[in-house]
């Protein structure tokens, strides 16, 4: 035994005699993780979160969360002598007087953007591959919660420097809260500590941004990851991969090295962005005062689609009995997002209700094999993209010689028309891809070589595909649509006939598929 082995051994003995952890650790180190590049999105999120914690902590050492008026006397000449909040002044000091401060601020902001982008990419991967199905519904809901929290946390962080742009964002946020019927006015006064912009908002959102929300994040992320650990990762279908196993590299050493290395890579890419590209140049925006505004005031991209939705809302307000209800704010800023996020959270249950599928799933779907779900996903992406485009309509207008009015009208119309069109096209595309898979299995790959037959005609030579490929293309299950008789055996109509009818229709739409090739079919063709 070498010296090192002896030392490690005695340390391990010390720990195990007190915690009895050997069994658990041994089991954990034998865990395997399947490899696929799309499985890395979640890791990007987690690492970005760690980067956010580190860079954020750095920033708190100098940031002063106060709306107290100060006169700026720092090094940035164009703002010298201007009265501003201590929050803004300290953000300027971090940028210009703390070495590496601007870099850290930019790392923090870029990282937040990458965090949100990776969450969305992760969500899309999980959705399109059906990874949310039983038994992973809880984790899906946790994911939606994390996404929602991320939106709020991002908005609060964007507001902290108290520059003109972030103040404009807060103004809009306060208007949304104020629009809530019955309690809105009270809520804004309590949140802001008085009429907008109040006196207490910056210190309050600071506490939320650096303590409460990160705490909740940490707890939810821990549970999220522990569930992945406990339930084991899903895997893409392939030879040797079943619902009963999971194939991949063990934690020690390969996965550990790769995952650990990837953390540094994510951090490195974020630092690179922060080094070469300016983000949120608050010194150019100037301090916030409600009487000022800049052209092209935008939120960060993950809130941009909501802003775009607010922009395209119709000018509806109800005035009755001495009260006002602002539908032009409530619908786009609260009702529609509320419906979207709730529907997202419940989607796993909705889908399993439609398909009647209550089994566990550990093998992922290829998106083409579930046309309805894939089409729904693309439809939702289309919707959000249209909103996002409208959220930047003023920037688009100036850069592409368009008119904001044109873009606005185009968005207002296409937000209703394009998503359904995207649904239909995607569904058809999925079915064509299924058909192509079927042809590939039955007739093999086109080789481009032409052969002249005895009868004189030319025929392209097809090469049969490998058994592995054939298996991948045919291993998915094609469930039939539900059959729910409208009346039971004695001819009595079952209750909830309308609900059943809807379910039947949805189930039928969900089950549409090009029949995959069966082994028998393949044999028959081979014999010919």
């Amino acid at each position: 035994m070498t010296m090192i082995e002896k030392k490690v051994g005695s340390a391990a003995n010390f720990v195990d005699e007190r915690l009895g952890a050997a069994g658990w650790v041994k089991k954990s180190l034998n865990k395997v993780f399947p490899d696929h590049w799309t499985f890395m999105f979640g890791e990007i999120c987690m690492y970005s979160f760690v980067i956010l914690l580190l860079s954020g902590t750095f920033l708190t050492f100098w940031y002063d969360p106060s709306q107290r008026d100060v006169v700026y006397e720092g090094v940035y000449q164009p703002l010298k002598g201007i009265t501003m909040s201590a929050a803004y002044a300290s953000s300027l000091d971090i940028s210009f007087e703390v070495r590496g401060g601007l870099l850290m601020r930019q790392i923090h902001h870029w990282s937040a953007n990458i965090f949100m982008a990776a969450i969305v990419a992760h969500l899309l991967r999980v959705f399109f591959t059906g990874a949310f199905r039983k038994p992973r519904e809880f984790n899906w809901i946790l994911g939606i919660l994390l996404l929602t929290l991320g939106l709020v946390e991002g908005l609060l962080g964007y507001s902290l420097p108290d520059d003109l742009l972030s103040g404009t964002g807060l103004r809009i946020t306060s208007a949304i809260i104020q629009a809530v019927p019955l309690v809105g006015t009270y809520l804004t006064f309590f949140l802001f500590g008085g009429a907008f912009p109040g006196v207490g908002f910056i210190p309050r959102i600071f506490t939320l941004h650096i303590l409460i929300l990160p705490g909740i994040f940490l707890a939810l992320i821990t549970v999220h990851v522990m569930l992945v650990w406990y339930q084991k990762h899903t895997q893409f279908p392939g030879p040797g991969k079943t619902e009963k196993n999971v194939v991949g590299h063990p934690i020690l050493p390969v996965y550990m090295a790769k995952a650990g290395g990837f953390f540094f890579i994510v951090f490195g890419v974020t630092a690179f962005l922060a080094a070469v590209a300016s983000i949120n140049p608050i010194w150019l925006y100037g301090p916030y005062t409600p009487g000022q505004i800049s052209a092209g005031s935008q939120p960060d991209w993950y809130m941009g689609w909501l802003d775009g939705l607010v922009r395209m809302a119709p000018p509806w307000e109800t005035h009755a009995f001495g009260h006002t209800i602002s539908w032009n704010i409530l619908i786009p800023a609260l009702i529609v997002p509320g419906i979207i996020f709730t529907a997202m959270a419940f989607y796993p249950f909705i889908e399993s209700w439609i398909t009647g599928d209550k089994r566990e799933h550990h093998l992922l779907d290829r998106p083409r094999n579930v046309p309805n779900r894939t089409a729904l996903g693309v439809m939702s992406i289309t919707f959000v993209l249209i909103c996002l485009i409208n959220g930047g309509n003023d920037i688009l207008a100036t850069h592409f010689d368009l008119s904001i009015n044109q873009i606005m009208w185009a968005s207002r119309i296409s937000v209703f028309i394009l998503p359904p069109i995207a649904f239909v096209i995607t569904k058809r595309l999925c079915l064509s891809l299924q058909r192509a898979d079927r042809d590939l299995v039955l007739h093999g790959m086109e080789t481009g070589r032409l052969v002249r037959m005895g009868s004189g005609e030319f025929v392209e030579v097809h090469e049969p595909i490998s058994a592995e490929k054939r298996f991948i293309l045919t291993s998915h299950q094609q469930a039939a649509a539900l059959e729910l008789p409208a009346s039971d055996a004695r001819g009595v109509r079952r209750p909830g006939a309308l609900k059943n009818k809807l379910r039947l229709r949805l189930s039928k739409a969900h089950a549409v598929a090009i029949p995959k090739v069966s082994a028998q079919e393949f044999k028959e063709i081979e014999h010919h």
């Binding site: 309690v183 040797g240 922060a274 092209g296």
Partner: protein
Amino acid sequence: MSSELEAFADPGLPVHAPRAADVDPRAEKRAEQQVALLFWLSAFGSALLIYSYIWIPEDAFIFIPVMGDQNAHQLFLGLGMAMSLFFLGMAAVLWAKKLMPDTEMVNHRHEFRSSDEDREALIKTVKEGVGGLKLGRRRLIKGSLLASLGLFALPPVLLLRDLGPLPGKDLEKTNWKAGTQLVTDPGNRPILASDLEVGSVVQVLPAVADSAHRPLSDIAKDPVLLIRLRPEEFKLTPERLAMTHDGIIAFSKICSHMGCAVALYEQQTKHLLCPCHQSTFDVTQAAKVIFGPSARPLPQLDITVDEKGYLIARAPFNEAVGPSFWERNSQ
């Protein structure tokens, strides 16, 4: 529909193929060198970071093509950090990919459902435990428990009461009163009606005692936009026309949609545009909404001049300025 019987047989996991570094010592050596090189690059990055932090002055600038003039301190500090982190990660990954054992392993999954015995035992335990409370029989406790729990929830909410004052009529009040002078923002100079020429626009605030220290919550409600047109360009009702002075019309600058500063005045079309959500208001028609999500015109301020010719408010706003709220009582 093909049943599972007719499915293709699973060819099973592909046979493990060794990598170049597993069989060829030269490839192994090469991989090792590559990993080492990446670690050295990372070390170089850290050195660059340290160098930049200490020796590159914060006011040194460097021209980089495409990017323009860059602050050298910030750029090299960041690039050093990026290299230090990125190549450390790349080295670890390359090491894992090329040199660490890459045999794939298979774990088996277990069903998550607990066994029937476990479930029954749990139900029994819970039943016994809850039964021990005998809530059904202890009516007194049940009632008082509910009451105490219900009241228990109230104090935490109540304790938040002092987060802010009650709104009262605050949202409907501004510093504009009958006779308040209009002063420029910034500058706080009173304005003669003759100071404005046709096509001019001025942002004004109400004259207050301490004009140097206006609370931001006042600036969130008080700003007014003063615009001068040719009087014949107005398409106003007589009441609204009476609120103007010699072609000068005054509107709240706070958007009736979400409270941004509506200040984009197009002198030719006489339109006001809000940059936040593109509500467009027609100044000639008393700021009627002609485009965008806002549902109400901007409130108009009744103005006139005092005996010296300075612009003053004749009356306060006759409606609340800014975004709508539940208690707002006007069209």
